[in-house]
């Protein structure tokens, strides 16, 4: 109990120190009120865990809250005007997280609606494509009543649930394979068909939307989840040529893809034009050196385009330096690794697959955007979970977290009760 509270107080303390270091105008008192509400939710939440005997993974939530606090401080630092919204979403997100954590009696219930999830995913994407507004070269946002929604974030949730339930049902078929093809045995077309259709559909729509980063995340999610369930290297082998083929087709079809790749190969050729984004990002990261310029001191916050969402990591790396950037990396690594640990311990197959899927999703998202801003991969704009500005992303990731910890808690409770029973036998 003491430990749990101290950890939260430390995290909140860091957030408040960060906020107080930033020069806030007098008009920012509303922001501070939201920060206070955030504080109360974090503290009450940890109290509630105690009262309701939460027994799941003790590390993930504090780590995510630390990431969240860091993200909030940096959103305030980069653009105080939009930070108020970010605080709202963070607070709503946390409430949703606790709602998911405590209200779901049995997560296996979700597995029943698999085709509904699939249809929902496709439908959400279609709606955006038809009615969405263009933003930064990608048609990915959708306005309802003045609030911009990013349906692709909710697609992640729907798709993950679909994948998990589908893979659980068809695991044996996919694993063993029924059609012999030379030395390899492949699953028959009936089993694979919905799967292939989903891939084609999602990738096609995303390519049309020009939201390449999300397409990449989904593709990795498909392939890695398939591998986790079937443990057949064959699938990884097949995925590579498909990936290269899709990539080549995309490269030939879309100009913006060609630009992305050429800028990635040589950003210094035109650092003020096409290469501006990545050059500014690298300047910011490099400007941080080992210990950073100090919070609020960096130049990147003003120079890097879309600093508040896609490039927020570059700003963090500048102001907190290599030390801070590594800390962020490690925090994300802890969350991803704990998700896999939950997957390994889960008592039923659906929980295992779902938890692994969440781990894969979080890991891939983080890797793709961070590799993008550090020029390890071509830049594809996707939000950094819990850090980048954006309500949809925050809400979805908190729901995912709720599902993950629900699985963890359920596992712990069931094993606890089994242990107790055994003890009764012994005595």
């Amino acid at each position: 109990m003491i430990q749990r509270l101290t950890l939260r107080i430390l995290i909140l303390g860091m957030m408040w120190i960060g906020l107080s270091l930033l020069k806030l105008d007098a008009g920012m008192s509303r922001l501070l009120w939201q920060a206070a509400i955030f504080t109360v939710i974090v503290l009450l939440g940890s109290l509630m865990e105690q009262l309701l005997h939460y027994q799941g993974d003790p590390y993930i939530l504090p780590v995510v809250q630390a990431i969240m606090a860091l993200g909030l401080v940096f959103v305030v630092r980069i653009n105080p005007d939009v930070a108020l919204h970010q605080f709202w979403w963070a607070n709503i997100g946390q409430l949703l997280f606790y709602a998911v954590l405590w209200s779901i009696r049995d997560y296996r219930y979700f597995g029943r609606f698999r085709y509904i999830w699939g249809l929902l995913a496709v439908g959400l994407l279609l709606i955006t494509l038809l009615f969405g507004s263009e933003e930064g070269g990608a048609t990915s946002s959708f306005k309802i009543g003045g609030i911009g929604l990013q349906p692709e974030e909710f697609v992640k949730l729907a798709l993950l649930l679909f994948m998990a339930s589908y893979l659980e049902e068809n695991e044996e078929l996919l694993r063993v394979g029924t059609v012999q093809w030379g030395r390899f045995s492949l699953p028959d077309w009936r089993t694979l068909r919905p799967f292939m259709i989903m891939i084609a559909f999602v990738l096609g729509i995303l390519a049309a939307q020009k939201s390449l980063g999300t397409a990449l995340v989904f593709y990795m999610l498909f392939v890695l989840m398939l591998y986790v369930v079937t443990e057949r290297v064959l699938y990884l082998g097949i995925s590579m040529p498909i990936f290269l083929l899709t990539g080549t087709v995309g490269y030939m079809l879309f100009r913006h893809v060609r630009v992305r790749v050429s800028v990635w190969l040589n950003p210094w050729q035109d650092p003020t034009g096409m290469g501006y984004q990545i050059a500014q990002s690298l300047f910011a990261i490099g400007g941080g050196k080992i210990l950073g310029t100090g919070l609020g001191n960096g130049i990147g916050a003003a120079m890097v385009p879309v600093a508040v969402s896609d490039f927020i990591f570059s700003v963090i790396a500048e102001e907190l330096g290599f030390a801070g950037a590594m800390a962020v990396l490690v925090l994300f690594l802890i969350v991803v690794m704990r998700a896999f640990a939950i997957s390994l311990r889960a008592k039923d197959r659906f929980g295992q697959i779902l938890a692994a899927g969440i781990g894969i999703l979080l890991g891939t998202e983080t890797l793709i955007i961070l590799a993008g801003v550090t020029k390890l991969l071509p830049l594809t704009g996707i939000p950094l979970p819990w850090v980048s500005y954006g309500g949809s992303s925050l809400i979805v990731h908190f729901i995912l977290l709720g599902v993950l910890l629900n699985i963890s808690n359920a596992t712990a409770v069931s094993s606890h009760s089994t242990k107790n029973r055994r003890r009764e036998y012994a005595t």
Binding site: F283, G286, K289, T293, N297, I299, M303, A325, L329, Q352
Partner: protein
């Protein structure tokens, strides 16, 4: 559950690769990125600081940042006078001179006060440090006005402390609105024909010239150490032949019977060549080394090294012909006027050359002293006896020799002229070095006027005006 473990391992490995990427950009490539021309980080960082002011030793403003119509403007109330030593600093042109080399102080980065450190940490607008120079605006203005219209340089030092009192070079440029006028300055210079280039950006006090007869004060050290009797007489016949090389006097004038004092006063080439060769190349080379040839001069600005031969390093030996020419400052000898002033100051200060400096004090924004320069010896060029002998000869040069135009009423001035042949069919460079009062020197001066003719006629009067003003002011005792 092998699959989950493998994917987890793959993820961890990818994170590791990512951290290597961070190491690459934040450690390995950090400085390269910072220097990339499209990276405006350094300039923008600097914009947050109000540059400190630059003042002369009496507190007169030389450079100051003022807010004009909400914008920071660097103003230079003295105009061209302190250029190019003062330099400039602009987003467009970069930085040079003191504005560049003192940037650490002016921006409050070096030895930041706790307040400045906190302001730096939290990116608050902050004030840099003020720098008080050792320069004296009155002397600088005399030097500047005397040189105006000529090409040349003046350096004045306090021989007791190494403080630089004046440092002028002409032609130069006006630092006000330099961003706007820059292209005009450059294009005007480019339009001039080759022989008439004005080189307005050149720091002429650091440019290397043949020293001509001013070199004889240095050669004197070798002569005195070789044990010649300064009262012995030598007959100057207007020219002499050493090792097959004809050594001529200026205008082939025969000085008749001269002793050491008269030889220096009349600037007799054959005397110094004959006895210099007699003393030998080792005595000469050790004397010039003692005066700082081939040595890096410690100073706030970069001074090129003076040299005896075309190699920058001092040679280990000299052949007789080159030695004979070097004794009176021809041959391959090259000296900067700044170094010449230092050597003069060394003779004035009884043989000890003090480390030269331009910064007297640095004051933080609340005017507390952050840094204060203390006098420090640099080299011991001469013993006190040697220095006294050379001084007495230099006094003779002013009272009855070539340096007569440098004489002042009621004060004993020690001086030496030089008319250096730059090579080619052009007028000689007019050199003059002097210090005063001879018995208790307060100021040492070196003047060069490029292609100015004789040192006595064209350089000495400039030095005389400066010395007069300095002694009237009693430089050193601060007003």
């Amino acid at each position: 559950m092998r699959g989950v473990r493998q994917v987890a391992l793959g993820m961890a490995f990818s994170f590791f690769i990512l951290s290597l990427g961070l190491v690459y950009w934040q450690v390995v490539q950090a400085d390269t990125l910072l220097e990339n021309p499209s990276n405006r980080r350094l300039i923008l960082m600097e914009n947050r600081v109000t540059r400190g002011g630059i003042y002369d030793r009496n507190g007169e403003i030389i450079a100051q940042t003022q807010i004009q119509e909400g914008k920071k403007v660097r103003v230079y109330p003295k105009g061209e006078m302190f250029e190019p030593a003062l330099g400039y600093s602009s987003v467009k042109l970069g930085a040079s001179g003191l504005e560049g080399s003192l940037a650490d102080w002016l921006l409050g980065i070096k030895n930041a006060t706790p307040t400045q450190a906190v302001q730096q940490l939290f990116a608050l607008p902050r004030q840099g440090d003020d720098v008080v120079l050792t320069l004296n605006s009155r002397l600088q203005s005399i030097a500047y006005n005397a040189l105006k219209g000529k090409m040349g340089a003046v350096v004045a030092l306090d021989p007791r402390t190494g403080e630089v009192l004046a440092m002028a070079s002409q032609p130069s440029f006006n630092p006000t609105n330099l961003d706007k006028n820059w292209n005009e300055i450059i294009s005007q210079e480019e339009k001039r024909p080759l022989g008439e280039k004005q080189r307005p950006l050149e720091h002429r006090y650091f440019s290397l010239f043949p020293p001509g007869s001013t070199m004889k004060v240095v050669t004197s050290a070798a002569l005195l150490r070789s044990g010649i009797n300064t009262t012995d007489l030598y007959q100057c016949q207007g020219s002499t032949i050493i090792n097959g090389q004809v050594i001529r006097e200026q205008n082939d004038k025969a000085h008749g019977w001269v002793n050491y004092n008269m030889a220096l006063a009349e600037s007799c080439n054959t005397y110094f060549a004959t006895f210099g060769v007699q003393a030998g190349d080792q005595a000469f080379l050790s004397a010039v080394k003692g005066f700082g040839f081939g040595e890096k001069i410690p100073f706030e600005l970069n001074v090129p090294m003076s040299s005896i031969t075309q190699a920058t390093k001092n040679p280990t030996s000299l052949n007789t012909n080159l030695l004979a020419a070097s004794t009176f400052g021809q041959g391959e000898v090259l000296v900067s006027p700044f170094h010449m002033a230092l050597m003069t100051a060394g003779i004035a200060n009884h043989g000890v050359i003090m480390t030269p400096h331009l910064v007297e004090r640095v004051l933080d924004p609340s005017q507390d002293v952050l840094y204060e320069q203390k006098p420090q010896p640099w080299l011991t060029a001469l013993s006190k006896e040697e220095a006294d002998k050379i001084t007495s000869a230099m006094v003779t040069a002013v009272t009855e020799g070539t340096a007569a135009p440098g004489a002042l009423p009621n004060v004993q001035v020690a001086g030496k002229t030089g008319s250096a042949e730059p090579g080619g069919n052009v007028l000689t460079h007019a050199w003059y070095i002097a210090f005063a009062p001879a018995e208790e020197p307060q100021i040492a001066v070196a003047v060069i006027v490029e292609n100015g003719g004789t040192g006595g006629g064209n350089a000495a009067p400039i030095a005389r005006q400066i010395i007069q003003e300095a002694l009237n002011q009693k430089v050193g005792d601060k007003k």
